[in-house]
């Protein structure tokens, strides 16, 4: 058999890219040295002050910033031995600061100053990004969560969304699939939209990006802020209703250049596997199922077993006479592998007070645990900022990435993973292909998973370039004008090829798809800061414009003479070709005021006015206001006596309105679709209406009330944050099913109302703070989703998946609740059948062992009226727990997460009764006879309408808890490191991802792969890419 070689590219490309990165590095490094050298300090009465900065334990601290107070241009950092030397005027004040330590100020009285810095317990007053600006965390009165790079660096991840999984209360991040490089599902505080995306807006360094996060290297991230309530997200107006995730990448700090190299190597192996039958169990089942189904279909039992309909009812005589002549293949193990992953990051950062830089490059290579799937990405970043004049600062954030993903449609509902579950163990390794032939008794329903994985090429190459140039001008004191111009350009090229061998002999075909997304952003903001004795005031006003064009082209060819050449030139028939283009734009005005009085009373208000091309002419502009207030009670004099116990107590309350504009680009316009006909011998193009026009189409608006409490006990050894919120989404953009006699099935309208309400708790405790340190961070969230109003007359919406009505969206229940028959055990015996015959649906003649349904209406028969809500996909609670321990140079972290209260729906269950493929392990406990009823839950082996009718038999419990990561690191002691030239820190680390899981669904990802929209959530088809258990070993060196 011919081998198809899809992998021709080696690492050559990687090497050339890396060398370009190195050149960029050199360029920046040289430049920086030049700037440092040219800096001179000329002042009279100078003294040279020198000393050592140490921790309380006496260990020297390298990298501590030392500068002259009120003259920040005069500064230095301590070297690897904690030593510094600086020229300052006598009597001036020196400031020593270092992350994680309290800043110390010392008046220069002698020429030798040795400083001991104390570790800060909890630095609650960190600076937080709030969108178009920053604010001290104490000044924040809305609900914003922050994660910093240390919190997310422990896992071996290729994407940011993976990194924040389980880290923030109210942010539900779920693996849709274990496939390398695949994006995750991210939802903040429940689904607020029925038809449109519930994924949040991502803003990278101030740029609201059009796509997802795939191109961003997680190790470039400095902080991630999540704007959870409407008050904080309202500054993003029409795009804020699903919450906003602000990502800030690292930037340089003035001081010595820090070069950091980080690399890890990991081994991944299969973590989840579906329980299916082995050879003996399968043959036993197949004989039983085929006989039963034959009888059920009205078959004539006098026909010999092997002469009945081939793949449905016929029984291979060898099954009875010589079952061991068949192989006993475990197909899931045949398509998986132990796969390596590796990551290399090199970065440099530093600068002077005038110029700062952070540059990095990263190469990541993840082989998938399913053969032929992998993901590779090269990325670079340069963040530079320079103060050119005392009134002018300019900066540029530039990042580029190039990625390649191979995935032979592994997790499609007819892909190799599904087929590895459905392929019977008795099928030979090359069977079920054109060349290997099909097993007569199975026909060609399921194709060979090994060949499907090897002979389908599905390769996506992406290039991503993001740049944002800005200038900050300070024309008068405290007033900053900032203008920025940015672009975000993504291009993807997908090449697909399927051989005739795995296309049932219908011929090989190949296609190529290209897309190009170009996004431009112009922002102009004015910020005015005023600080009085008791008042601080921070004002913002701005105007932004963003537009995006999207172009797509696609070609498909058939008629390939063989599979040697898979590019389209080898195909002889052009079977499909198209190209399309789309555009949207958004124009906005925004304003915000932050006020603080005596650092006790804080108040913030913002307003944004958005106009977007996507909406109807008559409803194009929307206004999104917000207000929030906070009271820091611990700043009140009467709290002073309790300060030792309650170190921080803040009450917050906020209200705001945000929108959702994810409705597609031309939804308000009645479109014509291309429809074709043939006259004589030529195809002619026609046009027909495809959508209703609605010039009133407007925003989906979410108004959220949030009250919160921030509590710190015992000098902030224990920090607790509690939020309660009610979010009402109104004017829901609903694809309302309309009377189909109009010629249309749905129309997009602003109808309906949904409420999400719930609470979130975050707890951070420093359990031990001595030499042995132990901190615990715990978060848990609870959300209730309820539909409040719906459609013109409130009638429910039935959600269909694969043509099966499986969910209902109706007033009073969560969106997309599973709505189907409730099973009521099995018909126990003939007497039970005779008495309760009507408790079956469709099937006119139930047999003992068939599923019985519950009569919900009490009318003594099963009709569609007996369908009921049998579960939903919203977890009652989801949580994450991180414990970190450190002792001397060792640190250990254990991260757990989980959820409960939700279900998922496995559509695959409708197919897996048929013995034309393998069946799931639960069939071992099936009903066989009255005396051998199995576990009383699994029906008899037969294919009837009973089993293809949606019922809670298809539901699975999605509750789980798992130890997701254990990470152990060892940092070499400073006294050892200080002996090695040029190295300031060295850490080695090892970790395991997906350590242990307790669940009810084969350790699969608990978010379904097949469909996960609001209206049909959590639907699986037995095809999800298995999760991997990863063991990694890494090193981190700083120079």
């Amino acid at each position: 058999m011919k081998k198809t070689n899809f992998r021709k590219e080696g690492l050559e490309k990687g090497h050339s890219t890396m060398s370009i990165f190195c050149l960029i590095f050199l360029f920046f490094l040289t430049k920086n040295n030049y700037v440092s050298a040219s800096q001179t300090v000329a002042d009279s009465e100078q003294v040279t002050v020198a000393g050592i900065v140490t921790e309380a334990t006496g260990i020297p601290l390298p990298g501590v910033t030392v500068f002259q107070k009120n003259k920040t241009t005069n500064g230095t950092v301590t070297d690897a031995n904690g030593k510094f030397s600086i020229d300052v005027p006598k009597g001036s004040t020196l400031s020593f600061s270092f992350i994680g330590f309290n800043t110390k100020e010392i008046v220069v009285t002698s020429e030798i100053i040795n400083v001991v810095l104390e570790e800060s317990i909890v630095n609650i007053d960190e600076v937080v990004s709030i969108g178009y600006g920053k604010l001290k965390s104490s000044q924040i009165s809305s609900s914003i969560a922050k994660v910093s790079s240390e919190d997310i660096s422990e896992r071996a991840v290729v994407r940011i969304d993976q990194a924040i999984q389980g880290k923030i209360a109210g942010v539900q991040v779920q693996e849709v699939s274990g496939s390398p490089g695949r994006s995750l599902s991210v939802q903040i505080r429940g689904a607020s939209s029925i038809n449109y995306s519930s994924s949040p807006l991502y803003v990278v360094d101030g740029y609201p990006i059009p796509g997802d996060l795939s191109s961003i290297n997680p190790s470039d991230i400095a902080t991630i802020e999540v704007l959870k309530d409407a008050a904080s997200a309202a500054i993003y107006g029409s795009r804020g209703s699903n919450g906003v995730i602000l990502i800030t990448t690292k930037s340089g700090k003035s001081g010595k250049c820090i070069i950091e190299f980080d690399s890890y190597y990991g081994i991944q192996k299969r973590f989840s596997k579906v329980d299916v039958m082995n050879r003996e169990d399968y043959i036993d089942y197949a004989i039983e199922e085929r006989t039963n189904s034959y009888i059920y279909s009205g078959g004539d039992l006098s026909v010999p077993e092997n002469k009945r309909h081939a793949y449905k009812y016929a029984i291979d005589p060898l099954w009875r006479t010589d079952p061991t002549s068949f192989p006993n293949n475990d197909w899931q193990l045949l398509i998986d592998r132990v796969a390596p992953m590796q990551s290399y990051t090199l970065s440099a950062s530093g600068g002077t007070d005038a110029s700062k830089y952070y540059i990095s490059s990263n190469y990541i290579d993840q082989q998938g645990i399913i053969i032929n799937s992998d993901y590779k990405r090269y990325s670079i970043r340069a963040n530079v900022e320079s103060q050119l004049k005392n009134w002018l600062t300019v900066g540029l954030n530039l990042s580029a990435s190039n990625s390649k993903r191979n995935d032979p449609n592994t997790d499609s509902s007819s892909g190799p993973i599904s087929r590895s579950i459905l392929m019977a163990p008795i099928v030979g390794l090359d069977q079920q292909t054109v060349e290997g032939g099909y097993y007569y008794y199975h026909a060609n329903f399921y194709l060979n998973p090994i060949h499907l994985a090897k002979e389908v090429l599905n390769q996506t190459k992406s290039n991503h370039l993001m740049s944002n140039f800005y200038a900050e001008i300070t024309p008068v004191k405290n007033l900053i004008f900032k203008a920025s111009l940015g672009t975000d350009i993504t291009s993807d090229k997908n090449q697909y090829y399927k051989t005739n061998n795995v296309n049932r002999g219908a011929g090989s075909y190949g296609n190529v798809a290209n897309d190009l997304t170009q996004n431009y952003l112009s922002e102009n903001t004015l910020t005015y800061n005023l600080n009085f004795d008791k008042w601080t005031l921070n004002l913002l006003g701005g105007y932004t414009y963003q537009e995006q064009t999207y172009e797509y082209s696609y070609l498909q060819k058939t008629g390939f003479p063989d599979d040697d050449i898979t590019t389209l030139n080898a195909g002889t028939v052009l079977s499909s070709g198209t190209s399309t283009a789309e555009k949207w734009n958004l124009m906005s005005y925004l304003a915000r005021a932050n006020v603080s009085y005596q650092n006790k009373y804080i108040f913030s208000a913002s307003i944004r006015r958005d106009g977007c091309s996507r909406f109807g002419k008559d409803n194009r502009w929307g206004v999104f206001p917000s207000a929030s207030a906070g009271w820091i009670i611990t700043e009140e004099p009467f709290m002073n006596t309790y300060k030792n116990i309650i170190s921080n107590l803040k009450l917050r309350a906020s209200y705001g309105t945000v929108g959702n504009n994810n409705i597609g680009n031309y939804s308000s316009i009645g479109l014509m679709e291309l429809t074709k006909y043939v006259i004589g011998s030529s195809a002619v193009g026609g046009y027909s209406p495809s959508t209703f026009s609605n010039s009133n189409l407007g925003w989906e608006k979410t108004s959220t009330t949030d009250v919160g409490l921030d509590l710190g006990f015992l000098k902030n050894r224990l920090n607790l944050t509690i939020d309660y919120y009610i979010a009402n989404t109104r004017d829901l953009l609903l694809q309302v099913p309309i009377p189909q006699v109009t010629g249309f099935s749905t129309a997009l309208q602003n109808i309906g109302k949904i409420q999400n309400r719930g609470y979130e708790i975050e707890l951070l405790t420093k359990n031990l703070v001595g030499k042995f340190k132990w901190t615990t961070s715990f978060n848990i969230a609870h959300n209730i989703n309820e539909v409040k109003e719906l459609g013109p007359d409130g009638s429910p919406i039935i959600g269909y998946s694969s043509d099966f009505p499986v969910t209902i969206t109706r007033i009073g229940d969560p969106i997309g609740s599973y709505y189907m028959f409730k099973t009521d055990g099995l018909f126990k015996n003939q007497e039970d059948v005779n008495q309760n015959k009507a408790m079956a649906y469709v099937s006119p003649k139930p047999q003992p062992g068939d599923l019985k349904y519950k009569d919900m209406t009490g009318d003594k028969e099963i009709t569609t009226e007996d369908k009921t809500i049998v579960g939903h996909n919203n977890p009652d609670f989801y949580w994450g727990l991180t414990n970190t321990f450190s002792y001397k140079g060792f640190d250990l972290s254990v991260f757990m997460d989980g959820q409960w209260g939700n279900k998922l729906l496995n559509l695959g269950k409708k197919e897996t009764t048929q013995s034309r493929g393998n069946v799931r392990g639960y069939w071992r406990n099936r009903w066989r006879s009255e005396n051998n009823p199995g576990n009383g839950k699994v029906p008899r082996a037969v294919t009837t309408e009973n089993l293809t009718t949606p019922s809670d038999w298809w539901l699975e419990n999605a509750a789980f808890w798992r130890v997701r990561t254990i990470n152990l690191g060892y940092t070499l002691p400073k006294e050892v490191i200080s002996k090695i030239k040029n190295i300031s820190s060295l850490k080695i680390y090892a970790g395991i991802d997906n350590v242990f899981m307790h669940d009810h669904y084969n350790h699969m990802s608990q978010t379904a792969t097949f469909s996960n929209s609001s209206i049909t959530p959590g639907i699986d088809y037995d095809s999800g890419y298995p999760l991997a258990q990863t063991f990694k070993l890494g090193i981190n060196v700083k120079f």
Binding site: H309, A310, K312, Y438, Y440, A443, N444, F445, A471, A483, R504, G505, A506, G507, S522, N524, Y545, G559, V573, S575, G577, A581, E582, K583, W584, N585, M587, Y666, I669, L671, M672, T675, K676, Y677, V678, I679, G680, S681, V684, G685, G686, Y687, S688, P689, F692, P737, P739, Q740, V741, T742, G743, F744, S795, Y800, D803, V842, P844, T864, T943, T944
Partner: protein, 486 residues
Amino acid sequence: MKNLTYLLIALVLFSCNDKLDLSPESNKNIEGFYKTPSQFYQAIMGCYDGIQNAMLKQNFSYMMSESRSDNAWQQVDYDDGLICRFTENAELPILNTAWANLYKYVARCNYVLESLNENTTLTSDQKKQYEGEARFLRALFYFDLVRYFGSIPLVDKTLSIDEGYSLQKSSTEKIYDFIVSDLKQATELLPDVKPSANPDRATALAARGFLGKVYVFRCGYPLKKNEWNLASTELKATLDGIGDSGFLANYRDIFDISYENHDQAVFSIGCKSGSEGEGNPFPSRNTPNDIKAGTDSLMLQYGGSPMRVFLDDYILGSLFDEPGDKRYTYSIQTKYINTSLDTIKNQPFCRKYRSGTLAANSDWDIDWILLRYTDVYMLYAEAQYHQNGKDETLTILNRVRKRAGLTDLKAADVDTEDKFVEILLRERRKEFCFENQRWFDLVRTDKALDLMKPFLAHYGSQSNFTNRDQYYYPIPQQETDITGVK
């Protein structure tokens, strides 16, 4: 500083006002459409696309007709497994597919008709042409709707959403009246040319042929009108207009590519392979999924399909109850080589239209005939029978039988109406097997209950079909949920 000023000006200018009015780049906008002659041509082609879908390409075309009849016993894997067992209910997805699509195509016609009224730029010839075609096609969509669902809402103009909610059902009679009215107008508006001169498009003759057929249906269940004379007039006019050359000498030629666009096709649906989905799926769809591609002399280099009308020896035995019928030979393939290289002999399948080239699976070049000359001929024979034209009836039926290689019927075979109907149904069943006619013939003659009984009994399902309500499908649940119309 100066440069900086320019830069700032540039930044601000980049965002100028009045940019939010974006018109789609790759789709036509309904505002501004239905104005020019070429736009009307495109819109009419959209209506023809509807015919091609509804009568041929979409699965409901056979699942709700042929699968329902005694010409097929379907597997439970697909929707027609329930249809065939008479166990379907209003939730069956294919019912909604048929409903939504047929009304969608009706709406396409309504858009054309309404815009024509307001139009001033088209010539009167163009207007006549497009109006005739839109009425002709709309009538055909309603003809299927009324035969599938019986009493249904009548939509004769473009509807707003609110109007959609308030629309009630019209009686079967009213729907049939509407069909007749549309077809009558079409006969006057459309060009009076032979089908071969205007292939794959509506002609006045095609409109007459269908009008005659509709009258025949009006004479049957449920309206039971006596309009045989009206039927005769239209059918005769069609036959005369085409001429006897429409009656091909060999049955096999009817489904042969070399007789495409011949006058034998009173109205055919245009198909073309290699044109991105404009091919004819019928031959591949009716071929077993496990056929080994390239092993068949009839050019099946791309294999078959899992969905088809499933046949067995029992069905064929009752269908072709007389030996020597050439129609058996040219309609049925009895054996094939499967992908395991076994020769399969117990799964016969339909081989009609397997002629000409195909560019991919289900992508055949051959047109599909919606109204055959022989159909008009036999309908005419039927209409004549009911007006004391028994001799002519017998002549026509015997001519059809002779072509099939069968002996003549005697006058005594059809001397009572019951006998005639029985004979007629048997002949029509053989002549038009798998052309989606059988079920409608059974219903209009009100013989479905009787004649399906032994068939269903053979498969143990006779208790499922017991009353005339099941002559029609229920209005889909999805529509009932929205409008309350049941």
